[in-house]
Amino acid sequence: MSRLKRKIAPYLLVLPGGLWLLIFFAVPMIAMLSLSLQEGDIVAGYRFTGHWQNYTDSLSAYQTQLIRSLIYGAVATILLIAIAFPMAYWIAFYGGRRKGTYLFLTLLPFFVSFVLRTLSWQQILADEGPVLSPIRDLGLVGPAFHILGTPVAVIGGLVYNFLPFMVLPIYVALERIDPRVVEAARDLYANPIITFRKVVFPLALPGVFAGVLMTFVPASSDFVNSEVLGSSETTMIGQVIAAQFLDNSDYPTASALSFVLMVVLLIGVFTYARILGTEDVMKVAAR
C-alpha cells in the first residue's frame, strides 16, 4: 500500500499543473489548430474542411507585417540588452545595501497599467506635446517632423515597456557570480576587460537568455505599442491577428496567423539557444 502511495505521489504533485496545462493550454491549442483549417463565414458558421490554404493565403497577405514584427522585436531585444546589462551590472556589483531599493525602482513603473503608460507616451511625444514643441520652436527640426507613427516610437515603446523583464533575469545571474571567481581572474593578471569578457559575461549568459525569452517573444507579438504609438506603416502581426479575431470575426485567418507566429518564434528561440549552447550555461546557472 505504501509502495503504491509512493508511486502515485509524484503524479499527484504534477496533477494540478498538468490539468491546468491541459485545460487552458492544450484544449485551446487544439481548438485553434482546428479553426485554422476551417472554412465558412460567421453567419453560416465555420466548418472543419482541412482548408490548409488559410495558411498560404494569410501568409502571403500579411508577410510584411510578420517580418516587420520580427525585426521590431529583434531590434527592441538588442537595445534592451544594451540598456539592461549595465543597469543590472551596476545594481549587482555597486548597489551595496540599497540593491533592494534600486530593484524596486526598476519595477516601479509596473504598478501603473501597461496601457496607461503607453498612452502617456502618446501625450508626451505628440506633435504639439512638451517634447516636440520646444525643439520645433528652436528650429532644430522641420515643421513636418514627428515621432509618433514612426518605427522609432513603436520600438521605443517596446523597449520602455519590457525593460524590467530584461534587467531582472540578468541581475539574478550576475548576483549569483561568486566574487572569488572574479578575484581569481584578477590574481591571474586578467585586466578588467578580459575579466568581464571571459568570466563575468559568460556567467551572466543564462540571465541574458532568460531575458531574451521574456522580451523577444512578447515584443514580437505585441499589439498595443504599435496601436497606440504607431501608424498604418508600423502595423505588427499582433494587430492583424486581433483585427481578424475581433473586427472581422475571421477566426480561421486569425488562428492560422497565430500558429505561423508561434512556429516562427519557437524556431527563432531554439536557433538562438543552439548557437549560444544554452544547455551548458543553464547547467552553470543551476549549480
Partner: protein, 417 residues
C-alpha cells in the same frame, strides 16, 4: 524574481534536443484521435438566413406570453447619455421599471464576436436592449436571427414622433427589428488655424500640402465610403469594380505620405493634440470636443457628400425582459425625452419635434445655459435641414456575407499596412 530559475534546464533540453522512444509511438497513435478532435471544433452558425422583414406571425410568436418584469438590462456605447442618467430616473418613476444601464459596446466587430456564441446557443447575453450601428454587423445580427421582431403596436410614440427618414431605413425595411437611437454624419473635422483655409472638399484630404497631417478612419466601411465619394461614386449601389478604384485612390493618398494614420474613436484626441489638422470625423464628437476643451474645430460635410449612419435600439432574441425593453425604446420617442437626450449627446435626433421643444425649453433658461441649449437646438448637426440631408449618402448595402467579405478584403490592406 529569479527568472532564470523558472526555466527548468531539463525542459529546455527536452525542447531543444530530439529524443526518440516509446513516447513517439504514443504520439503517433494520438494523431488519429487528434483528427477527430479537430473536426469536432467547428464554429456553429445559423445556416439559414432570416427574412429581411419579419413575418407577422413571427412577431406574434415572439411576443406571445411575454409580460412586464419590472427591470431591463440596457447595453449602450460610452458617452451616449448624460452620466447622471436623468432620463432613466424619469422612466423608472413613470413605469416602475428599473434600468441597469451599461456602457459595454465600444466597437461593433468585437461586440458581435462577444455575444455571438451565447446567441447561437440560445442563451441570454445579459441584456434586453442593445444599441447597434447599421454596419456589417447589423445584417450579421439580423441574418443570424439574433434580433427579436418588434411589435409596433407597443411603439405608439415612435409611430407618432419619428421623422419620416427614420421610418424607412434601407438596412432594416419597415423597422422590423430596430428603431433609431441617434444618427450621425461622417464628414471632415479640421483646425482652421492650422490648415490656414476653409476645407470644403474631399480633395482636401488628398492635398499634398497637408502631408502627414490627414487622419482617416480605420473602419473599412467609413474609409471605403470616402474613397468612393471622392471619385464621385455613390456608395449605395456601388460595385466591386468601384471598390477597387476607390481602394487604388486611397492607396495613392497613403503612399504619398499624406495620411498620418487610420484612427478609431481616438481621432478626436489626435486632432486636439495637433497630430492631425484635418480628419474624417463624426458630427457629435466635434461639437462635444469644442465645448469640453474650449476648442474651435470646424466640421463640414464635403461638397462631394458625406455619409449618414444610424445607431439603433434592438432587442436580442434571447432577452429576458423584452416588454420592459420595448417600453423603454418607446419612452425615448416622447418629444420631451428625445429633446433632453439630444441636448446632451449632440447627435442627430430622430424626432424632429424635439427642435421646437428645445427652443421652448431654452426660453425658460437664462444666460450661458440658454445660449448652450439654443446652440444645440439651432445646430445643423443635430437637426439637419433638407439641404444637409441631400448631401448625405447611405452605406453600401450588401446582398450577402460573401459580398461584405469582398468589400472588407478590398479596403483592409490599406488600414493594416
Amino acid at each position: 524574481m529569479a527568472a532564470s530559475h523558472n526555466v527548468d534546464p531539463s525542459l529546455l533540453r527536452g525542447l531543444t534536443q530530439r529524443r526518440f522512444g516509446r513516447r513517439d509511438a504514443l504520439r503517433l497513435s494520438g494523431l488519429a484521435g487528434m483528427g477527430a478532435a479537430l473536426a469536432a471544433c467547428g464554429v456553429q452558425g445559423r445556416g439559414t438566413q432570416a427574412p429581411a422583414s419579419a413575418e407577422p406571425d413571427a412577431v406574434a410568436k415572439f411576443w406571445a406570453g411575454k409580460a412586464k418584469n419590472g427591470k431591463v438590462d440596457f447595453a449602450n456605447w460610452p458617452l451616449y447619455m448624460d452620466p447622471k442618467r436623468p432620463e432613466l430616473a424619469k422612466f423608472t418613476k413613470e413605469t416602475g421599471i428599473k434600468v441597469n444601464y451599461q456602457e459595454v459596446i465600444q466597437e461593433m466587430g468585437p461586440w458581435f464576436a462577444k455575444v455571438q456564441p451565447q446567441l447561437t446557443a440560445g442563451q441570454s447575453i445579459g441584456f434586453d436592449l442593445m444599441v447597434i450601428t447599421n454596419s456589417f454587423q447589423f445584417s450579421q445580427f439580423r441574418d443570424s436571427g439574433f434580433l427579436a421582431p418588434l411589435d409596433h403596436a407597443k411603439l405608439p410614440n415612435y409611430a407618432k414622433n419619428a421623422g419620416a427618414a427614420y421610418k424607412k431605413e434601407e438596412f432594416d425595411p419597415g423597422n422590423a427589428y430596430s428603431i433609431p437611437w441617434a444618427s450621425g454624419m461622417t464628414g471632415i473635422a479640421y483646425d482652421r488655424k492650422k490648415t490656414g483655409r476653409d476645407i470644403t472638399s474631399l480633395a482636401d484630404l488628398w492635398d499634398p500640402e497637408f502631408k502627414g497631417k490627414v487622419g482617416m478612419f480605420s473602419d473599412v466601411q467609413e474609409l471605403g465610403n470616402f474613397g468612393l465619394l471622392a471619385l464621385g461614386i455613390n456608395p449605395k449601389g456601388s460595385t466591386e469594380d468601384d471598390w477597387k478604384k476607390a481602394a487604388d485612390h486611397l492607396k495613392k493618398q497613403k503612399s504619398a505620405g499624406i495620411v498620418r494614420n487610420y484612427y478609431d474613436q481616438s481621432y478626436i484626441d489626435r486632432l486636439g493634440s495637433g497630430d492631425v489638422w484635418l480628419t474624417q470625423a463624426w458630427s457629435g464628437d466635434v461639437f462635444q470636443k469644442n465645448i469640453s476643451d474650449n476648442k474651435d474645430f470646424k466640421f463640414v460635410i464635403p461638397k462631394e457628400g458625406g455619409t449618414i449612419w444610424t445607431d439603433n435600439m434592438t432587442i436580442p432574441i434571447t432577452a429576458q425582459n423584452p416588454v420592459d425593453a420595448i417600453t423603454l425604446m418607446d419612452f425615448f420617442y416622447e418629444v420631451g425625452n428625445a429633446s433632453a437626450l439630444a441636448n446632451y449627446i449632440n447627435y442627430v435626433c430622430p424626432v424632429p419635434a424635439a427642435q421646437p421643444q428645445m427652443r421652448t425649453d431654452a426660453g425658460k433658461l437664462t444666460g450661458e445655459d440658454q445660449d448652450a441649449m439654443l446652440a444645440v437646438a439651432n445646430s445643423k448637426l443635430v437637426f439637419p435641414t433638407a439641404a444637409e440631408y441631400s448631401k448625405l449618402h447611405y452605406y453600401v448595402s450588401f446582398e450577402a456575407t460573401s459580398e461584405q467579405q469582398k468589400f472588407q478584403k478590398t479596403f483592409e490592406p490599406i488600414v493594416l499596412g
